[in-house]
């Protein structure tokens, strides 16, 4: 049936931002194609979410299941494959989140449907779907189409689609789902919050952020000196945490924190999308990197193409002088 189906995800009493973002995109596509937008939300108590989703979707399927852990991929896959086989939506939209990565590929196999992930644009011309993906670490975009088929599954990149307000009053259908299959083989044991040391980078006005270009743990001192001069604290990108140079609480980006400082000063960071998505809200972004083609320059207000080991010591010195 000509409709677009959006899978919503939620965690700890809150709908995920990405779900609202792809819902808005779904609404846009559905209106353009003149077809309906269906949202599905699965969990132990989903009534609150259903009301919220109904502001975008023409119809919300609120599926109640009684397994621990709201987003366990296995039960969701079973439920979604049966709904999709039944409704045969033209396009299934899921967020390219940790939940999406765990779910979408196994759903595609179950439905023998084509899957395009982490898309930065989705379009439908009469019922052929075209998507755009960012590949080679953001250096090249690729446009894909699909062989003619009933169902296409697409996951959308977090933070790529703007979530517009909408106050539609969609219809809500409650579905009770009893899982016959025993899930003993995979037991959810709860969430773990990253232990927060003394530092909360989300509160700082000034963040001096370091990336792989820092080359070694010893050089963090250089960034700390600059941070002290600016009254800020040191943050970092993922490779710095992976190499054990700074604890995870300093990490900005998708799997770390989202920050909105007055100044985000990026040193030796190439700017993978998973990092830039966490800093886009900064008032001023300054980038120092010796690779002029580093993707992060495309989100910067000011940039210096030079070696951080030459510029940063001089910058710290200059700031101390100017502060007098």
């Amino acid at each position: 049936m000509a409709e677009i189906l959006v899978v919503a995800e939620h965690r700890q009493q809150k709908l995920a931002d990405v779900s609202l973002q792809i819902l808005s995109k779904g609404r846009q596509l559905a209106d353009k194609a003149g077809i309906e937008l269906i949202a599905v939300v699965i969990g132990a108590d989903v009534s609150g979410y259903a009301e919220e989703l109904a502001r975008w979707a023409d119809k919300v399927l609120a599926v109640k299941i009684d397994t621990p852990g709201e987003s366990l991929a296995e039960p969701c896959q079973k439920i979604l494959s049966s709904i999709i086989k039944d409704r045969k939506p033209k396009l299934v939209l899921i967020g390219h989140s940790s939940f999406g990565m765990d779910l979408a590929p196994s759903l595609a196999v179950e439905l023998d449907a084509p899957l395009a992930t982490d898309c930065i644009d989705i379009s439908m011309q009469n019922d052929s779907i075209v998507v755009t993906r960012s590949i080679y670490n953001g250096k090249v975009n690729a446009v894909y189409s699909f062989v003619p088929c009933e169902i296409v599954i697409v996951t959308g990149r977090i933070g790529e689609f703007a979530s517009e307000e909408s106050d539609r009053k969609g219809e809500i259908e409650k579905i009770d789902f009893r899982l016959e299959e025993d899930l003993g083989y995979k037991v959810f044991e709860g969430y773990i919050e990253q232990e927060v040391g003394g530092v909360d980078i989300t509160q700082a006005d000034v963040l001096v952020s370091v990336g792989r270009g820092l080359k070694d743990k010893e050089n963090i001192e250089m960034a700390e000196e600059l941070a002290r001069a600016l009254g800020g604290i040191v943050a970092c990108s993922r490779p710095v945490v992976d190499s054990g140079w700074l604890p995870a609480e300093h990490q900005v980006g998708l799997s770390g924190k989202t920050v909105k400082p007055k100044l985000y000063l990026a040193l030796g960071i190439s700017g993978a999308f998973q990092h830039t998505v966490g800093l886009k809200g900064s008032e001023m972004i300054v980038v120092i990197n010796k690779d002029a083609r580093a993707p992060i320059f495309s989100v910067a207000d000011y940039g210096i193409v030079d070696d951080i080991f030459k510029v940063v010591p001089a910058l710290t010195q200059k700031i101390i002088e100017l502060k007098g």
Binding site: R11, E74, S97, S98, F99, M101, D102, A104, P105, S106, A108, V109, E110, P114, L115, T117, D118, R133, S134, I135, Y136, N137, V140, N141, A142, V143, Y144, F146, V147, C149, Y185, K186, V187, F188, Y191, I192, L230, R238, V241, D242, A248, E249, L254, S255, G256, L263, V286, V287, D291, F297, D301, Y302, G303, I304, V311, V312, L315, K318, I319, L322
Partner: protein, 257 residues
């Protein structure tokens, strides 16, 4: 503890400069190739498990002859055996590659299958979970820590905003590994030479009862294009002293200090 690790060979994205005339591929002449970063972490995780619990590691890939170098590297790191399905499927979609790997792994004896969470070139992060579905074994994507104990594996998985979620999964199972789970060791050229004696088996699609026409991609590449220029950053130029001086004044004028 028998582990299968699937690895991929990719161009060093730092060198990627442009798109070739066909608009369907990048310029490949001056590129250097290496093992996909995520797969290096998956291999290291497998070797550390083997060092603790014993057992065997088989490294597998699907690709042409030049891909033997990443298998040799895996053997030097600690894999006992390597298998390459001799078929260039770089332009195929993940679904097709998953079918090949499913057919290959199905006949191997394994308790655990490890994939990298995604690849540096296309970054689909689909392959591992697809293969798990085809093999009919439980999976968890984006694993950042794992311990094995009496037939089960305790995994914690990375979510957004610094959150993790943890599971206990019965073996056999499939995990896709996120970077940062460990610190992959350096593989010396001497190590690679010493591992030359280890077995590297090459198979064809037909050995797996497959043929190219059953593997036609359902997702088709239309074209490649350069991303639109983002916000035009104001570049400050000059010697390190000059740029530092200008930047310091800009920051002062905008009230940062």
């Amino acid at each position: 503890m028998d582990i299968v690790v699937c690895i991929k060979r990719i161009p060093d994205t730092a060198d990627v400069v442009g798109i070739d005339a066909s608009k369907k591929d990048i310029e490949k002449d001056s590129l250097a190739f290496k093992i996909n970063d995520w797969d290096d972490y998956a291999l290291e995780a497998a070797v550390q498990l083997k060092e603790k619990q014993g057992g065997s590691i088989t490294a597998v890939t699907v690709g042409p002859k030049e891909w033997d170098d990443i298998l040799r590297r895996a053997l030097a790191m600690g894999a006992d055996k390597a298998i390459r399905v001799d078929q260039d499927m770089v332009t195929a979609d993940c679904y097709a590659v998953a079918k090949v790997l499913d057919a290959l792994i199905r006949d191997l004896s394994y308790n655990l299958v490890l994939f990298g969470a995604q690849s540096e070139d296309f970054g689909c992060s689909q392959l591992g979970v697809m293969v798990a579905e085809m093999l009919g074994i439980p999976h968890a994507a984006l694993a950042v820590s794992l311990q094995v104990a009496d037939g089960r594996i305790h995994v914690s998985r990375e979510l957004e905003a610094g959150m993790l979620e943890s599971y206990t999964i019965e073996l056999p199972a499939l995990l896709t590994i996120q970077t940062g789970i460990n610190r992959p060791r350096y593989i010396s050229l001497g190590g690679i030479k010493r591992a030359m004696s280890k077995e590297l088996q090459v198979m064809s699609l037909s050995d797996l009862g497959l043929s190219l026409d059953t593997l036609a991609p359902m997702v088709r590449l239309e074209k490649l294009e350069l991303p639109p220029r983002g916000k035009e950053a104001e570049l400050i130029s000059g010697s390190p002293e000059e740029t530092a001086d200008q930047l310091a004044r800009i920051l002062q004028n905008s009230g940062i200090f």
